[in-house]
């Protein structure tokens, strides 16, 4: 994305953000609560329309496309939200919904759902109602729903924020594996610096709607000279 601005009423939430992520790269966007991370991801996933700026996918500017073409690009992306969003249906139906939206054949839907259910370790729950899952299971379901779509770009908005360590590491491992195996672009927001260190290829710090520092994980955490970054990291990680 290039020079993206977004306001809600009088409040400027995103202020001229330019961000680039490459194939096979896991980009971690860190920042405190209210810094604009979720809004930025929603803009990238075309759920919010920016006031100005450009969004590119494979060199194509998305905001200028008509609705039908834009949907084709949206279908090459997927997003997992911070809080699991579940449909009033079984685990199987919750995962297959995106595939049904894309009009895939029944056998292909079955194959993909079965595969991702095994990956997220929810196969035995396939016929249970989604509302009966625990928080960690529900978040794994949401990740499975996104992975079943085999997206080229995967957005994850603090997906591990409310999870116990076991579920947190399981999701991190699946995301990292998906990124490497599929050469996908993964953009992951978090305010957990250790998580960013574990996962990221590239890290960006969003403060008050602006990217104030960006770089490889090594440079970001050890060689930054930016005072804002040092303040955010609290000093300990830069030592």
């Amino acid at each position: 994305m290039e020079d993206v601005w977004k306001s809600f009423g009088e409040k400027k939430v995103i202020k001229g953000v330019t961000l680039e992520a490459l194939e096979g790269q896991l980009y971690c966007l860190i920042g405190p609560n209210g810094s604009g991370k979720t809004t930025l991801l929603k803009i990238a996933d075309m759920l919010e329309v920016p006031d100005s700026g450009k969004i590119y996918f494979d060199g194509v500017e998305l905001l200028g496309l008509d609705h039908a073409k834009r949907i084709q690009y949206i279908r090459r992306m997927a997003m997992v939200f911070q809080h699991p969003i579940l449909y009033n249906a079984s685990v199987y139906d919750n995962i297959s919904i995106g595939l049904r939206i894309r009009g895939l054949s029944r056998s292909e839907i079955e194959d993909r759902v079965k595969r991702v259910l095994n990956e997220v370790n929810l196969y035995d729950y396939r016929n249970k109602h989604a509302y009966t899952l625990s928080g960690g299971e529900a978040q794994r379901l949401c990740l499975a729903r996104a992975l079943a779509l085999e997206p080229k770009v995967l957005f994850l908005d603090e997906p591990t924020a409310n999870l116990d360590p076991a579920n947190k590491y399981a999701i991190e491992r699946m995301v990292k594996d998906y990124c490497i195996k599929n050469k996908a672009i993964v953009i992951f927001t978090t305010h957990d610096m250790l998580e960013a260190k574990r996962l990221a290829d590239k890290v960006g710090l969003l403060l008050d709607g602006k990217i104030v520092e960006e770089g490889s994980v090594q440079d970001f955490f050890t060689r930054t000279k930016n005072e804002l970054v040092a303040n955010f990291l609290g000093g300990e990680l830069t030592l």
Partner: protein, 236 residues
Amino acid sequence: MSQKSALIFLDSEILGITLLSFQVSCTAVLLASIFALPIGTVLGLKDFRGKQVILTLVNTLMGLPPVVVGLILYLLLSNMGPLGPLSLLYTPTAMILAQFVLAVPIIVGLTYSAIADVSEKIVEQTLSLGATKRQLILIMFKEARMGILTSIIAAFGRAVSEVGAIMIVGGNIRYFTRTLTTAIVLYTSMGEFETAIVLGTILLITSFTINLFLTYLQTRYRPDKGKRFKVMRFGD
């Protein structure tokens, strides 16, 4: 049950009255659903100028007195009225029309409420999955299905128990426009309480059977059917 009561149950005239009652009410509710569900859905999904006024109007019409509906329709359908040439007065079609008018606001109002209650996050998630507008509406319908079926059940209840409007526009004509409710009024006024009670019983039993089916549809997808379930909506 006395022998007379048993004979009333089996009477072909009573059977005809019962069939007509449910034919009229089912047709009216079916047509009202086709007409009102899209309106309720649009009201639930879209924000526009004047929506508040429309919702207030719908809520007011939900409590519309049947006799007022009957009177207005009578004036419209009578020979002097604008729809007089259609010769619909004192026909089952006029009774369907009356019940349709009473059912529409109920279905619109309750469908709006059911759709508006679906979390905004579900809309966002569905759009993020790449849904078209049509697919989004279908998914919203599915999410709101319990509320939507409630609206249909409520509308059917209102239609089948209605008497004032259909008495005015149907005329309670024997073998033609006499329904269970109008017949109950007639037999009660004639002092034939046993017949009236039997008709009331038939009305209750058949209503119960139809509602049993609708309730089955309403609850069949509930998680852990049969157990008390606390709805858990993450992120709301």
